[in-house]
Amino acid sequence: MTRRPDPWEARDTARVAVFAAIIVVLGLMGPIPVPGLVPITAQTLGVMLAGTVLGWKRGAAAVVVVLVLVAIGLPVLSGGRGGLGVFLGPTVGYLVGWVPGVIVIGLIAQSGALRWWRVALGALVGGVLVIYAFGIPAQAVIADLPLGGAAIASAAFLPGDIIKVVLCTILTMSLYRAYPPAFPARVRAARSRRTTG
């Protein structure tokens, strides 16, 4: 079967909106207070899943939608936070980094047949390294810290984020087994070629 290259249809708009809603709902589950004072939320797990499931383009759109909802004053971030204040606080870099982050996740995870190591690599590079690459410098500037200091401070997120990378990998591969249509046709085709052929 031949497919036109990636047409944007009503279904894509619907998936973007629904995935943005998933990211919001995962945030409503509330921050898990961890010793060390850092609120770790399932929201970044949602961001990672947006990349691995929707791919880079739709995933990025879903994350941008969440950020716009934050900006227009909806309490859609974990713990019911929202509004323009978030964009002027010390964590703005992480938040903005979600966008390039999800793009990198999608590009890596869906660069070929769906494999656990592609998913894990994408989530690690896009969901941790890229997001931190935006988050740490912004934190350093806004909180008036040396770059190294901001990096050390961000280490508090690291254990949680590694757990999320692992979860994202397990959940993505489970989702593929439970419901292959979740993934774009291109990914499914690549996978069945590899597994049957």
């Binding site: 489970s174 989702l175 087994r177 439970a178 419901y179 292959p180």
Partner: protein, 233 residues
């Protein structure tokens, strides 16, 4: 012996609105139908039976247990079948899904695969044991959901609109299973069926009709249903 289901002044209030009001009833019957208008409180009543919803006044007992006090034990004794099968499929494949129930029921790991296979065979799902669960047809998914609930051998089974979206054949099959069981016997000691399908309700031993959060009537299904129908004639 069957201790029956009993409620005494059972009330549920959520966010300041009273959803269920002073329900008192004793149900030793084997097959119980719950009918009534949308929003009447049927599902809320059903959910108190396994502790998914906690009474804010009065109490309810099922199979000799108080679900509000002992939710864990009540959930072992009371199986619950929801109307949407998709929400109930918790694992990627049918056999894993059944195994999950067996695990929750404390069946040792070594025995689970065999028991799961037997359970799937009982519902004619053997050929689908390892395919993506969500690729099953609507009727097969509903059967899988029932198999998963029955895998832990509950004493009481509560089903909330179990035949929604099923065709005549599947609805009949599901109804027969719930009401009469199969070669392996009845599915549980007591079965509570919440439904808008009045033909299904008519096949029970007793019918409760809810209205505006109250138990409006209980008795012989044919009579309760006839009066309910008459209201909308």
């Amino acid at each position: 012996m069957n201790e029956g289901i009993s409620a005494e002044g059972l009330g549920v209030e959520i966010d300041g609105t009273e959803i269920l009001h002073a329900v008192t009833v004793f149900l030793p019957h084997r097959r119980i139908a719950v009918i009534g208008a949308n929003g009447a409180g049927k599902s809320t009543f059903a959910r108190t039976l396994n502790g998914l919803v906690r009474p804010t006044s009065g109490r309810v007992t099922v199979a000799g247990l108080d679900p509000a006090r002992e939710p864990r034990r009540a959930r072992e004794a009371v199986g619950f079948l929801f109307s949407s099968p998709d929400a109930q499929i918790l694992m990627p494949t049918p056999s894993e899904d059944i195994a999950l129930s067996l695990k929750a029921a404390g069946i040792p790991r070594a025995d689970r695969a065999e028991r799961a296979a037997a359970e799937l065979a009982r519902f004619g799902l053997t050929g689908h044991a390892d395919q993506p669960a969500h690729s099953l047809s609507g009727g097969q998914k509903q059967l899988l959901a029932l198999a998963a609930v029955l895998a832990s051998a509950p004493r009481v089974l509560v089903a909330d609109e179990p035949t929604t979206l099923l065709d005549l054949g599947n609805a009949r099959r599901m109804g027969d299973l719930l009401l009469d069981g199969d070669e392996a016997g009845p599915v549980a000691e007591q079965v509570v069926i919440v439904t808008h399908d009045l033909e299904l309700a008519a096949r029970c031993d007793v019918a409760l009709r809810f209205s505006d959060g109250r138990l409006a009537e209980q008795g012989d299904p044919d009579e309760v249903i006839a009066r309910y129908r008459a209201e909308f004639a």
